[in-house]
Amino acid sequence: MVTVHSTSPHFKANARRALGDEQLQRALTNVPGGFIAKRQHAKDKLPEFDALRDEARDLKNHTLAHLDVYLEEYEARVIASGGHVHWCETPDEACRTVIDICKAHDARTVTKGKSMVTEEIHLNAAMQAAGIQPVETDLGEYIIQLRGETPSHIIAPAVHLNKDQIEADFRATHTHLPADRQLEEGAQLVNEARQILRQKYIDADVGITGANFLVAETGTSIIVTNEGNGDLTQSLPKAHIVMATIEKIVPTLEDASTILRLLGRNGTGQEFTSYTTFSTGPRRADDPDGPDEYHVVILDNGRTGMIGSDFQDMLRCIRCGACLNHCPVYQAVGGHAYGWVYPGPMGSVLTPSLIGVDQAGHLPNASTFCGRCEEVCPMRIPLPKMMRHWREREFERHLSPVTVRYGIGAWAFMAKRPKLYRLATGIAARLLKLWAGKTGRLEALAGAGGWTRHRDLPAPQGPTFMAQWKRRRP
């Protein structure tokens, strides 16, 4: 955990900035229309959807309970098909392993398919420091690489941007193209990126992709893309490196198929993603194309420590992105406010596991506990429960700001003394109501400035719940 570049400890400040960022707020309005309705439609068209979720959860639990042996089975099949497997405990080790393979091929440019794990290990920075130029090929990743940014969403990395910003970036970067060219339409932007990246695929010495799944049965890595960039990345260069983590394993091709039925539908709302590609080893003796070498780099980075812990369920995550899309906090502040690679509810659970609760202990507070994330999770991951676990741990470790700790301590003191509690809440309710006046809303409240900055606090109406309850009981 040495190479942590995180602004997660500043979630509150980040979020405040995000709420005031007009461009971001405009871009974020695309999230509900882009994802939520489409997912619902795809789900409605498959009556077995919820039953598949149960199966996917169970099969992944089974896999995690047998993870050591499935990893061994997988490794043996990769080797038997002529590939190489590299095991890495830390991000630094993984970066070094990838760079060594690139150097063995005298690589100067390397194309990359979309991979959140390479974001997790900050591979691009490490490669550049080693004199190797990484070229992101997923359109969204390409755009944010031009801007020197990180992805703000795990499946839609540039969701925080508007068309006019992308146009400005392309004009500033692709200066060899005529300045008066038309570039206002999405199709024109897509086409320009297509033309530019075409040559990069051909020039690249090594191609790096992530892996959505690794299949123990056959030693196969699976990538799922809509653009086809991952396929050009892995089939044109001399070597293909797959960057994966230990929990990506599934036992069989049938098991992969079950989860694939959920992934596209739940993520982008597609019945099936355009390209699902199964890669096994390097090109065969009589293959006319494909990479000569096939390497799989398997990273741990804290995941073995999650096995058997309160957070093991998180290892079922298939990175579909639905919990981000449906999260009111994500919808309001976007992904960058979370301060590290994985945003939204899945990030709030995973980030403290990977970079430590001292760095990311605030994130589990970035939740309204509305429960939407768990409702839409295809792998039925109890995200709110795990966020609560982190909150408890953060409190136990006394990492909460002193005001929060005293606040909760005072509340606990009162809550254990029901009479005193009822008296105090009754007085407080009447006071707040008086204070709010006719509107019934409080625009500012001492000690709750963070809460009232972006919304009013409705003043309590009528007697307290306890008082009403008492009156209603026969």
């Binding site: 229309g33 994802f35 039953a51 049965e217 494909g290």
Partner: protein
């Protein structure tokens, strides 16, 4: 201790509470050897004629175009017509596929230049054959090899794929059984491509644009017999 040893040592330590290593090994081997299907959606468990129809509907729903021909012999005519319709040069590339190579290209499509092998970056159109079509999502299955270079599936802007109606099946699971029968248990060709419609992206303001990096157009030719 190597990273590999350290990772496995930690895993074994954490997993020991659940079951013994021996038990885990036996359970995992049995699951792999059995490769039993999980829940299969009812959607594609229909008769073959209905599967072919579902395949066509699903492929068209994701912006592929579909043409049904009586036999392979008509493929050169269809390729010529397709290229003309889209104002493309009369040139096509395919692998060393016996069926495609054996067609009467000269006689049926005299103006067409036919080349072979992996894609060249200047190719505008390519022709492949799919080993299967999956009805449930209108998905084509292409396997890599000399007969079907993988780059043909991704580099040109126009991809034409031939699939026999008899090879259209209900589900992905059916395909895995076919692949095991062809390549053997626990064996795969270098690449199996599942292709569902042409290339697309939603990365700019979440609006779908076709032809991001892979083919802008996908044309499927179904051969009836």
């Amino acid at each position: 201790m190597s990273a590999r040893e350290a990772i496995f040592a930690r895993l074994r330590h954490q997993l020991a509470a659940g079951s013994s290593e021996q038990d885990r090994r036996e359970t995992a081997s049995a699951r792999i050897a059995g490769h039993a299907a999980n829940l299969i959606p009812a959607r594609a468990q229909i008769d073959h004629g209905a599967q072919v129809k579902l395949f066509i509907d699903q492929a068209e729903a994701v912006q592929a175009t579909v043409k049904t021909l009586a036999s392979h012999d008509d493929v050169p005519d269809e390729v010529t017509a397709y290229l003309r319709k889209h104002n493309l040069p009369q040139a096509i590339r395919h692998g060393t596929d016996a069926q495609l190579s054996g067609l009467d290209w000269h006689g049926r499509a005299p103006s067409l230049t036919v080349s072979h092998g992996p894609a060249d970056p200047h190719d505008e159109a390519s022709l492949s054959h799919a080993v299967a079509g999956v009805a449930e999502t209108g998905t084509l299955i292409l396997t890599s090899g000399p007969d079907n270079p993988t780059t043909l599936n991704f580099l040109p802007e126009n991809h034409i794929v031939v699939v026999r109606a008899a090879d259209i099946t209900g589900t992905y699971e059916d395909v895995w059984q076919t692949i095991r029968a062809t390549y053997g248990e626990r064996q795969m060709p270098r690449t199996v491509n599942m292709i569902t419609g042409p290339s697309r992206t939603g990365d700019i303001e979440q609006r779908i644009e076709l032809g991001a990096h892979g083919p802008r157009r996908l044309h499927i030719i179904i051969i009836e017999n």
